[in-house]
Symmetry: D2
Subunit: 299 residues, 4 copies
């Protein structure tokens, strides 16, 4: 919280934290990586089933549908509209956290009082809409199972410095300022193949807190993974979610949860290249602690 | 419906319509336009107030907030989460329509029965998630008020061939295959400055149906504007929304409604350049007739 | 559908069906049964957990809470408000169906076209608010497990004529015009003690269709049980839910699903009396196919 | 807060407050008032339009409808189901407040800490489901416009001791223990005839705080009116809603908001009788600050 702190680094009123590291020059450089024009989605498909890891499933109701059509009727009723509702935080929806998602000792990132995120009004500071210009930068993938020669990083296990070092040694990139650092455990794809889990009981894989100094030093803008982004149980007494708590509150780090990385991993492997242009474009929601997103990697 | 039809053009099972026109080569070429690394959002900020043009306002409820903090308490409760719900079709939310949004004579684009979009299950065909790889292509802006030397295209008036010809003559681009064609009327910004309107009574500006043959011939992938994308009243007896009805059902045309184009217009004018890279990344929602989006233009 | 039909019985425009049987005189007589002033709820407590039999769990979000209080602050923020949302049909919420809940061969009760219950507008006919004066009448309880000397009527098994005959022989009542006939299987209480079930797989107990002629002949106004009110699987080819389909569409019968009858059964047994005053007061919801309710028996 | 306090009166753990005054004997006596069997709803019909006094309008979406019917199809799809969602507090929905709805100086009624009503869990104390046995007691109507010979009690004006005295003198009842005291201003019916209002600007009629000592002394169980139950502006500096704040927090008084009293007033006048049996049966919602209701008066 202290040694990695970015409080004050971008001024007392800053709400964008590590997004400041994605300068136009960083964006410009990243655009140069897209030489094919091929795009790969890093979003899990949103479905509507309740499950142990989705106790508040997304809602989807129709306000109009093709059911209304009768032969011979006028065409004007033939419009389909839907209502969507979701709690995107959790373990199933691909989303990015704004810096309003976590507090520590009554403070948000940059020292703003926690009460600025209120029950009545939501995130009156640090809302997701500070990211409205989008995040267009370089992405790098640390595909931990491939690097380790295993199928999965197991629940309770974490992706750590070893994996990152191995990736940098073997994959032709060095993590640098403004990067979206994506860590693959294989767990989200596994969950879709084998069914829901009760995270509270079986735990979670994810990034290890030991990565945070490197994230800080190199200037990573967004940390993402195909998990909820914290190893569970955390093994720390005071920190239930150290990566979120130190990352978001201390460092102003943007975190991408439940990214769908299996298709991306295949695309990288096919090309022998694990860095690419990536676009993450959060919805421009007022007073919100994050947004569901469809991050797209571009080769 | 007949002369502009794309039914069968990309195979009998196609659900992507004009997105097929955004080939990797088109994407690759568009990426070359982004030379500065500057990004501009084309999304209106989502707010939560009910109004005449937002009778079903978005919902936003907190599941946790900074209100829960008490000095001396443990930190674990300090998480903020929110619930979002919205009907994005309408006149206030920036969104893209999937090809499931409109039917005609009991058929969706490509001849699929309208009943495939059902009340119980939603869009079991033509869902927005067919666009999951995202739309990364060239965007061009026809800034009609600037071209006409007026402040606004008035409600009931439309943006048409004259405006497009003027833009092509003066703005250094020619509409081509795979483009996102953006038409600015100034109405959405005006609405935000002067308050809600009752669209049913005051009508709407928007693209004129006379544009559709050009859209078809040139191979526009996405037609967008800062309106609901149909002049209202339409002036046609059979067609309440001709651009949506012929565009979506006949042509398989993707339509971007309620784009926020004032910031983009200023960015274009400042550069004397009205074409740019654009990313539209719809949420990967199952069985949905569209998605709220944050389209981002990149210079 | 034919022999039990009440179509036209109360006029061509009737939407109240068997509620017509609860005349003021019936209500007046029933009021005489309440001699103690003791009340017993027949509603299951609404909870918010997703489960196999509650795939669309009720939603509950706070718009304000006691969390907002800070010592020394002014008092005005100290208001708690909540948002509720629910799909009450299903297997967990105590609710009453309006006559708009089921159709048969394209018709609602009394021959009204099914399309009067539309996706866009809901139940423009046969809405629950036709019951706004409430249902205040006599209730009778057929406590099948007690009568059979077992703990439960098993899933797949039904409550039938035998049980009713036994009740009439032993319990001191004869079913008569305007009655709320309550059939207890013990299943809802069992479900709460042993956990959720997957109704599609394990089936359901409930009233047997063989009861419908008696229901018709005696003039029962409301048929209720501590199940979804149909034995599942039904054993019929054409009828998935014969009691609902013939009852609602043919007879205009009002059906109370998922009533909580364990407390009522205990209250009856303690008094040796299985008939009582009952009040069912549906919410006055426009265009709705039913309402969650809290039926209260009064001794 | 002090002189009218009921803290501790029904034990340290009591959450039912003035509902304790509705004893079985009170209920029994009230049942004797219902001599005709005629019932009258005191609920305003729930509609779904957004308006200035309904900025978060109820939601109503269909999960199935009659639109799905096709001639010749099997019947099983012919089920209509709906989703309802609502914020019932406010100025348009008939509802009853639980004692969790207001706090004062960090305390709920009976001294319970305000934090027991939390953003994450809702009303873990004082939830509406403590009222699950229902409220079946005597109701009395003070029809202020009739007593004053005017059409309406104007916004900003209140119903007070004068009105109650006049009612007791002219209407044949004396307010007594366990009563539901209903105060009619005529405003809710007027609002329905003339359209929505902006309560923040035009104020509200309602009960005057001067009634609270009488309410306390006589043992009123529920105070209801056809308003939000506080004159607005209140005229007090510390109390925005004195009737709610002193009533709920200090007295444990149950308050019925936005009751529909025009039909009841007509029924009373027709009979020359302003007291009657009344049933208020709140939904058995866990952790909730109230419930929408359909109170029914029975003559």
């Amino acid at each position: 919280m202290q040694s990695l702190s970015n409080w004050g680094r971008w001024g007392p009123d800053d709400q964008r934290g590590t997004l400041n590291l994605v300068t136009p020059e960083v964006t410009r450089q990243a655009l140069g990586l897209a030489t094919e024009g091929a795009t790969v989605s890093c979003a899990r498909r949103v479905t509507y089933e309740a499950a142990a890891d989705s106790p508040l499933p997304p809602q989807h109701y129709m306000l109009g549908s093709g059911d209304g059509y009768r032969p011979g009727e006028g065409p004007d009723r033939q419009v389909a509209r839907d209502y969507f509702g979701l709690v995107f935080h959790g373990h199933t929806i691909t989303h990015i956290d704004s810096l309003a998602h976590f507090m520590w000792d009554g403070r948000l990132f940059n020292g703003v009082p926690a009460q600025r995120v209120s029950t009545a009004e939501g995130a009156t500071s640090h809302s997701i809409d500070v990211a409205h210009p989008g995040i267009v930068t370089r992405g790098v993938l640390v595909d931990a199972p491939r690097l380790r020669g295993v199928e999965l990083v197991e629940r309770g296990d974490g992706v750590g410095l070893d994996d990152v070092e191995r990736a940098e040694a073997q994959c032709g990139f060095r993590i640098q300022q403004g990067d979206v650092l994506l860590l693959r455990t294989g767990q989200l794809g596994h969950r879709d193949r084998t069914g829901p889990v009760d995270v509270a009981n079986v735990g979670s894989a994810g990034p290890l807190p030991e990565l945070l100094p490197l994230v800080h030093e190199r200037g990573v803008a967004v940390l993402g993974s195909d998990t909820g982004n914290d190893v569970m149980p955390s093994g720390y007494e005071r920190f239930s979610n150290p990566v979120h708590q130190i990352g978001i509150v201390g460092m102003g780090l943007w975190i991408l949860d439940n990214a769908w990385l299996d298709d991306l991993a295949a695309a990288c492997q096919a090309r022998g290249r694990w860095h690419f242009l990536i676009s993450i474009l959060p919805l421009r929601l007022s007073n919100a602690t994050g947004s569901p997103v469809n991050p797209v990697a571009i080769f």
